[in-house]
C-alpha cells in the first residue's frame, strides 16, 4: 500500500493541489486541467486503444456476415472470427489492455480528488501525511471547493439542480461514448447484452454523481467529453452513434 501512495497517489495528489494554486485556487479548474494532462500523458496507450476499436469497427460488416452465416454453429463462428481477426492483424482484446494499464492512474486520480477535497475534518488532518513540502502545496491547502456554483465536496443531490444537471451530463456523455464504440451484432444475445450495457452503464454513472462528491462527477464529465472528442478524431467520426441516432434521417427505401 505504501508503494501505491509513494509512486502513484501522492504525486498525482500533490500535482492536483499545486495546479489548484496556479489556477487561482480553483479546484474545479485543477480537476479539468489534471484530467487533460493525464489524458495527454496516456495518449499513446489511448491511441492504441482507439485504433484497436476502429479496426474492430471496420471488421464489423464481415463479422456480421459470419454471424449470419454460422448462426447455428457457434464453434465454427468462433473459429472463423478468430481467423478473420488474425488475417486483419487485430486483437479483439486489444482495446481492453490499454484501458486496464491506464486504470490505476484513473483510480489514483479519483482517490486524489477525494483526498484533496477533505470533506470531513479527519480527511483534512489525514491529508498532511500525503503532502510534499512544496511551498505551492503548503499555501494551497485546504482547498476551496466552490466551482461554477457547485460545492465540489457535496454530493450531486446536495448540490440541487446544478448537481442533477452534472449527473445528467455524466450519464449523457457516457451514453454517447458507449454508443460510438458499440458495434451492432447480428447475434440477438450479443445485441441484447450490448443494448443492456449501453443503457445500464450510463444510467449507473448518471446515478453515482448524486451520491459522490461533485468534484468526482466533474472529473467523470470532463473525462467522458475528452474521450468523445479524441474518439471522434481518431476513429474519424461518430462511429456507431450515427447508425442508431434518433436524429438521423431514415435511409432511402427501395434499394
Amino acid at each position: 500500500m505504501e508503494v501505491w501512495y509513494l509512486i502513484i497517489l501522492n504525486p498525482i495528489l500533490n500535482v492536483l493541489i499545486a495546479l489548484t494554486h496556479f489556477l487561482g485556487g480553483q479546484f474545479g479548474l485543477a480537476i479539468i486541467a489534471l484530467t487533460i494532462i493525464v489524458r495527454l500523458a496516456s495518449w499513446p496507450l489511448n491511441k492504441r486503444q482507439l485504433k484497436s476499436t476502429k479496426a474492430m469497427q471496420d471488421l464489423q460488416p464481415k463479422i456480421q456476415e459470419l454471424q449470419k452465416k454460422y448462426s447455428k454453429n457457434q464453434q465454427k463462428l468462433q473459429q472463423e472470427m478468430m481467423k478473420l481477426y488474425k488475417e486483419a492483424g487485430v486483437n479483439p482484446l486489444g482495446c481492453l489492455w490499454p484501458m486496464l494499464i491506464q486504470f490505476p492512474i484513473w483510480i489514483a486520480l479519483y482517490q486524489s480528488i477525494m483526498r484533496a477535497l477533505a470533506t470531513t475534518p479527519e480527511n483534512l488532518l489525514a491529508l498532511h501525511r500525503h503532502l510534499y513540502s512544496w511551498e505551492v502545496v503548503r499555501n494551497a491547502v485546504p482547498l476551496g471547493s466552490e466551482f461554477l456554483g457547485l460545492e465540489l465536496g457535496l454530493t450531486g443531490s446536495q448540490n440541487g439542480p446544478l448537481g442533477i444537471l452534472l449527473a445528467i451530463i455524466v450519464g449523457g456523455t457516457m451514453w454517447v461514448q458507449q454508443k460510438m464504440t458499440q458495434a451492432p451484432s447480428a447475434d440477438p444475445r450479443q445485441q441484447s447484452t450490448a443494448r443492456m450495457m449501453t443503457v445500464m452503464m450510463p444510467l449507473m454513472f448518471g446515478m453515482l454523481p448524486l451520491m459522490f462528491p461533485s468534484g468526482l462527477a466533474l472529473f467523470w464529465a470532463v473525462s467522458n467529453i475528452i474521450g468523445i472528442v479524441t474518439q471522434y478524431f481518431v476513429t474519424g467520426g461518430w462511429g456507431y452513434l450515427k447508425v442508431s441516432s434518433p436524429f438521423q434521417s431514415p435511409a432511402p427505401k427501395g434499394k
Partner: protein
C-alpha cells in the same frame, strides 16, 4: 460472446474497484474528536458514536449519556433515517448547562444539555432546521455563545433564550476554528489565511486584520495585543492586533516539517506549539526565537496544557509527556514520558487537580501526573458501558 463476457468481467472489476476505493464511507466518514471538559468533579466528552457523556471522576461511574441523533435523508428510494451526529466540539460546562455542537452531512446544531441529567434544554436552530456543521469549539462570553460553522459564518446565540443574536457575513468556505473574544471584538482565523475582527455586539466585520497566502490551521490565541496562530504553511505567526503587522514568524527561515495544527499555548512569555512534524516548539513570545524543542517522533494534534507548573502534552501515538516548565526540554524524552496510552490522541484534553483527562480512540484515560501512570480508564463505547 466470449469477448462480451470478458468485457463484462473486466468492467465489473473496474467499477467495483472504483466504488471500493472511492465510496463515501471509506475515509470520508466523520467520526468526531471531541475533547474533555472537567467541571465540579464530572468529566464531559463527546464519543465517537455521537453521544455526550458525563463521567464521575471520583466514582468513575457514568452519570449520563445523551445520544445526539439527527434525521438524515435516506438513500435513493429510502425514507429518512436516524443517524448519530459526529461531535468535534469539546463540551463547555457552565452555569448548570453543557454546550455542544454537532456535525452531520445535513449540517449542524448547537445544543444546551442539563448538567445533571443530560436532557436537551435548548437546541439551535429549532424545528428540524440546521446551521452549518460545527467543528470549532463554541466560546462563551457574558451572555452570548459564539461558534463558527461549516457555512463560513460565525453565529452568536443569546444564552438566556438560545436564539440567534446575530450571524456574521460569510467569511470563508467553512469555519472550523473557534473565535476568540477580546473586549467587544471577536477575532476569527480562516482557512483562506485571513484574520477577521468582528463586532461582538452586532457581528459586523470591523476589519480584515491580517492576510496570509496560506490558510490558518489553528484558532487565534490572543495574549496581550498579540494574536498567535498556526498555519498550513508550517509557520506559527505572531500578529500585532493594533498595527496588523507580523511581529514574528516561526521558524524564521524554512517552514517546520508539518502544519501547526493544534492551538498554541502562551504562558509566561513562552509560546508552546506542537506541530504535525512531531516536535513541540518553545518560542519566545516577544522575539519569536526558539527557546527549545522536543522531538516526540509522532505528530502533535492536540494542544498542550499546563497544570501546577507542569506542561502536559500528548502526541498522536498516545504518549503523554510532562515537563517541568523550567526544563529546557531537550534530551528529556525518556524521563518525561508519563504514560503510554497505546491509543491515538487527536482530541483536546484538560487537566485538573493532579489528573489529565484524555479521550483517545473512544476511551477516557485519567492520567495521574505526579504518579506518572494511568490512574484508570473507561471505554466510551455504548455497548461496553451497558455491559
Amino acid at each position: 460472446m466470449k469477448q462480451a463476457r470478458v468485457f463484462l468481467l473486466v468492467l465489473t472489476i473496474l467499477i467495483t474497484s472504483v466504488l471500493v476505493s472511492c465510496a463515501p464511507g471509506r475515509g470520508q466518514a466523520a467520526g468526531g474528536w471531541s475533547g474533555t471538559a472537567f467541571h465540579d468533579g464530572i468529566i464531559y466528552s463527546g464519543t465517537q458514536d455521537g453521544r455526550i457523556v458525563a463521567v464521575n471522576a471520583t466514582t468513575r461511574d457514568l452519570v449520563w449519556s445523551r445520544p445526539m441523533i439527527t434525521e438524515a435523508a435516506g438513500g435513493l428510494g429510502c425514507g429518512p433515517a436516524v443517524v448519530a451526529a459526529a461531535i468535534y466540539t469539546t463540551p463547555v460546562a457552565t452555569d448548570g448547562l453543557v454546550y455542544v455542537g454537532t456535525y452531520t452531512a445535513q449540517g449542524g446544531r448547537m445544543y444546551a444539555l442539563g448538567m445533571t441529567d443530560g436532557e436537551i434544554i435548548w437546541e439551535y436552530p429549532r424545528g428540524g432546521a440546521y446551521m452549518g456543521a460545527i467543528v470549532g469549539d463554541p466560546v462563551i462570553s457574558d451572555d452570548t455563545l459564539y461558534v463558527g460553522s461549516s457555512d463560513g459564518k460565525v453565529h452568536a446565540l443569546a444564552l438566556s433564550t438560545f436564539t440567534r443574536r446575530w450571524e456574521s457575513e460569510r467569511l470563508a468556505d467553512k469555519l472550523w476554528t473557534s473565535p476568540v473574544v477580546v473586549g467587544d471584538t471577536l477575532y476569527v482565523t480562516t482557512f483562506d489565511g485571513v484574520i477577521y475582527a468582528l463586532s461582538a455586539e452586532t457581528g459586523a466585520t470591523l476589519d480584515r486584520v491580517f492576510e496570509l497566502e496560506a490558510g490558518f490551521a489553528t484558532s487565534p490565541v490572543v495574549h496581550g495585543r498579540i494574536i498567535y496562530a498556526g498555519s498550513f504553511d508550517g509557520h506559527l505567526y505572531a500578529i500585532d492586533i493594533d498595527s496588523a503587522e507580523t511581529v514574528w514568524r516561526f521558524p524564521q527561515g524554512g517552514a517546520a516539517g508539518g502544519w501547526f495544527w493544534a492551538d498554541p499555548l502562551v504562558h509566561e512569555g513562552v509560546v508552546y506549539a506542537g506541530s504535525l512534524d512531531g516536535r513541540l516548539y518553545l518560542i519566545d513570545a516577544e522575539t519569536g526565537d526558539r527557546v527549545g524543542d522536543f522531538d516526540a517522533g509522532s505528530p502533535f494534534v492536540s494542544s498542550p496544557v499546563i497544570m501546577d507548573d507542569v506542561l502536559i502534552v500528548a502526541d498522536q501515538s498516545g504518549d503523554v509527556y510532562g515537563f517541568e516548565l523550567s526544563s529546557a526540554l531537550q534530551d528529556r524524552a525518556v524521563e518525561t514520558v508519563i504514560a503510554r496510552l497505546g491509543a491515538e490522541v487527536e482530541s483536546p484534553f484538560c487537566a485538573s487537580e493532579g489528573f489529565a483527562y484524555i479521550r483517545a480512540d473512544n476511551t477516557l484515560y485519567v492520567v495521574d501526573i505526579q504518579a506518572r501512570r494511568i490512574d484508570w480508564q473507561s471505554s466510551l463505547n455504548a455497548r461496553e458501558e451497558q455491559g
